[in-house]
Symmetry: C2
Subunit: 519 residues, 2 copies
């Protein structure tokens, strides 16, 4: 007679039946039945991370590429806590994720064992949906609810807590997940209001976000821009922007408040498509939080939970622009390779010259990368991913998940040295999974952004102790050794010539390859 | 005219006036005024970590050595989240900590900028006390309240949230912190009940925890044991145990449930001194959560928030044991150095042979370290620190904090390779602060504890995918390279002879030194 199915197995089968067939894991004792079920049930790809921030960030990257949730497997409250920062980033990016978090057996919780904590409390700030599944006969249905929650437009963080006895007790079987309903269409009034704003004669700009940053929706925006003369902008950070030669070129709102104010002054009124009225990343004394031009108005064409592409199409039709050739199509252009010392501008040119077709760029370059857009605009078509949540340490994990989602594409991760340290363990998973990821670490030996911020918040002439708290160059981080320690090939580039050569070698290697870029 | 004091400066001055003069930091933009104030105000030692788990774990280690809180400086919700796992461990160890967590300017929060999150929600599960200080004139008083909360016996996690405008606005000055009141004495009835249990003729054991694991309190326990024949035990994990030659020798309750049941069967009735009735670390099918022998009783002599040493003294007087020479005094003994392949037993002997006088041992050796106690019992007096919260990745950060607290003592950290990866960034802080820490990484290439746990929870013959999720040996972690990458000298020991030599060299170096121990 076959062994009866336990709760863990019914959950694994429910996940797979619901289309969740990747699990990024960092398990512990309370998750052992789930781990054991992975052997029994075919169809779940498991990817191990040595720190939970790698696991949750990978699930974020996976969703951004495929638009469907992966699962994570985390060990009780502290394991979830270690994954929270990248769940925060994923939440702000509207990436759907099903977190499975182990918990003590229900009867054991009251005894306050060492690892006991308020797991629901830990989950709630970074989750849209949280549930503790009370027993082994409910876990399949709760798993289906978690998948539905994760898939709910525009993507949600669902955290399902799995007590050990829920995992090991007898189950009834698999639960079915309802398919997500189609995104609602926007109202005719929303289209009319947007058209009216664009026809008014006042300066106006389409501010685009979310999944309408894909080729087809951007093309519609380009047609509208060609017809009406409006601008096209995106928010400061995008979940995934399709760009490169032949695609409609858009700029991001700059991070620095004074620059953002100038850009939005020029933008005028805003038609919001999957975006919000822009706000400053941080508040600063005597600077505004809201960045729209004084007197400018906004109108919402479509939100993230509506069919944005259909809305843009309706707007193009309304404006008679549906057959207008799109404005701002980026011409193919490979910049000349610079020589000599490495500067941010030189890195931009080298990236523009070398970025392979269909590359996925995961950008956490912070200060170094502020100039990367213009020089890469004419490179072959590629995707550009930014951090929407602002918690640093997102890029290497997101690159891991993007590479799992798209094993046939090359991933290029651009990361400041300070940021990369938070989730440095991701390198090991890249080596284990032999992922085609080239990582550029911009080694300036400092939390460089904070030097500027110290001035921005009004601190004049910071003293040695303040500066010391922003310096990560004592001792210098040797990224080549760290990468080697985790099984990733690595080299160091001190000149443009070396960087171009190392980038060629990294991209050609087909595996993970780290380049420490001295800037 | 002098610049008026801002909120950040009033907080820094209040912390220093309240005896909090160390700050473990990982700051961001919203904390820049606090960082700037550090230059203006003398007396705060700042120690930078490149990941927040290092910062919070260091504060835990600092408290364990000095019994007074350090502060941490963390960047908004995600920065706090990254520190939660080690705050969980610190909370379970009753380590007092004052967390300062930056927040957006109060008026900026409503705009839901990228880094906006429910910081109080993130803090609550791992904090005893949480407050957002509403403005720059209240922050000094709130800082004093946070210090008082952190100091409240037996030590608490206090999280003070500092909005940017609270930091940069004008302040009134410094607030005074009330001194902690003396710990209350236990009742005469508690002493009488304990005495009655020890005199009853039934088997009985003192189960000791918290700060009564120090030499003088243990000596009192030894006198009581000599007089009554009772046993002495500690819980499975101790915040800090003073042990070694000339001190009263005690054993810990084993982690493995079947072994723990045997030990507690032999222990009989329990007199609880700073401890609770023992519970299993995890629940397992068909094994009990509560570990006391069937039919055994317990009586509480003193809790963690009472004067435990005075209670033991009163009990010794009550029993006529106050002048009885203590039982179980460990004789000085240095084991012979083993040769050949490295085994857990061989490591124990080498540690026993080499541990320097007054060393601080931070033990996260997990499976490898289960046999370390007997062979090190006769080494010169030293302190032994365990993880009370069970969230792995605690030892290197705690070692950082212990070394800041006790710069004249040698710290020895004993860590499994899986555990060490979670907070590997601690190595950089050790190098930066030139700390006298010798780190032994037990490299078995696996989450070895989980292999046993897979069997313990009832999984027979785990398949290749389950085993793969517990294996961290593909690729092998090269700790020598990782340490080098963060500026820490390192070597590898594959034999007992190499380990003994490397340990000598590491201890003699006076700086951080890592040894990858092949087990």
């Amino acid at each position: 007679m076959a062994e009866p199915m336990n709760g863990a197995e019914s959950l694994v089968r429910t996940l797979i039946a619901g289309g969740v067939n990747v699990c990024f894991t960092n398990p512990g004792t309370s998750e052992m039945h789930f781990v054991a079920a992975l052997d029994k049930v075919p169809g779940m790809r498991c990817v191990l991370g040595l720190f939970e921030g790698v696991v949750t960030g990978a699930a974020d990257g996976y969703y951004r590429m495929l638009g469907k949730p992966a699962s994570t497997l985390l060990h009780l409250g502290p394991g979830l806590a270690n994954g929270l920062a990248n769940l925060h980033n994923a939440k702000k990016a509207n990436s759907g994720i099903v977190n499975i978090v182990g918990e003590h057996a229900t009867y054991h919780i009251a005894h306050d064992a060492p690892l006991t904590s308020d797991i629901e409390g830990v989950a709630r700030p970074m989750s849209h949906w949280v549930k503790t599944s009370p027993n082994s006969t409910t876990i399949a249905a709760d798993g289906a609810l978690a998948i539905e929650a994760a898939r709910a437009a525009p993507g949600q963080i669902a955290t399902l807590i799995l007590p050990a006895d829920t995992a090991w007790g007898p189950a009834h079987g698999v639960a079915e997940t309802r398919s997500p309903s189609a995104l609602p269409k926007v109202s005719a009034d929303a289209v009319k209001a947007a058209a009216a704003m664009l026809r008014s004669g006042e300066k106006a700009t389409l501010l685009m976000g979310g999944t309408c940053l894909r080729h087809r929706a951007l093309e519609l925006a380009g047609r509208i821009a060609a017809k009406t003369g409006c601008g096209i902008l995106t928010e400061g950070a995008n979940t995934r922007l399709e760009r490169g030669a032949g695609r409609v070129q858009v700029d991001r709102i700059p991070y620095v408040v004074d620059q953002a104010l100038k850009v939005l002054q020029a933008a005028g009124n805003l038609v919001l498509v999957g975006s919000r009225e822009p706000v400053a990343f941080f508040a600063y004394p005597d600077k505004p939080s809201l960045l729209m031009a004084k007197g400018a108005k906004s109108t919402k064409l479509a939100g993230l939970d509506e069919d944005m592409e259909a809305a843009l199409e309706a707007l193009a039709i309304e404006l008679g622009a549906i057959n207008t050739p799109p404005a701002r199509i980026a011409a193919p252009r490979r910049p000349a390779l610079p020589k000599g010392p490495i500067t941010p501008a030189a890195i931009a040119s080298i990236l523009g010259a070398k970025l392979p077709e269909n590359a996925i760029v995961v950008d956490e370059s912070v200060t170094t990368g502020r100039e990367f857009f213009p020089e890469t605009a004419g490179a072959p078509p590629h995707d550009w991913i930014n951090n929407r949540g602002g918690s640093i340490g997102y890029a290497m994990p997101v690159a891991v998940g993007a590479a799992i989602a798209c094993p046939d594409r090359k991933v290029v991760a651009l990361i400041g040295d300070g940021s990369a340290m938070y989730t440095v363990q991701a390198l090991w998973t890249m080596a284990r999974e032999r992922q085609d990821i080239t990582i550029l670490i911009f080694a300036n030996g400092t939390y460089n952004i904070l030097r500027g911020e110290l001035t921005n918040v009004g601190v004049r002439n910071p003293g040695p102790r303040a500066v010391d708290m922003l310096s990560i160059g004592r001792p210098d981080l040797d990224w080549v050794s760290m990468a080697k320690g985790m099984g990733v090939a690595a080299s160091r580039a001190d000149t443009c010539e070396q960087l171009a050569k190392a980038l060629d070698a990294g991209l050609a290697s087909g595996g993970p390859n780290l380049i420490q870029v001295t800037v």
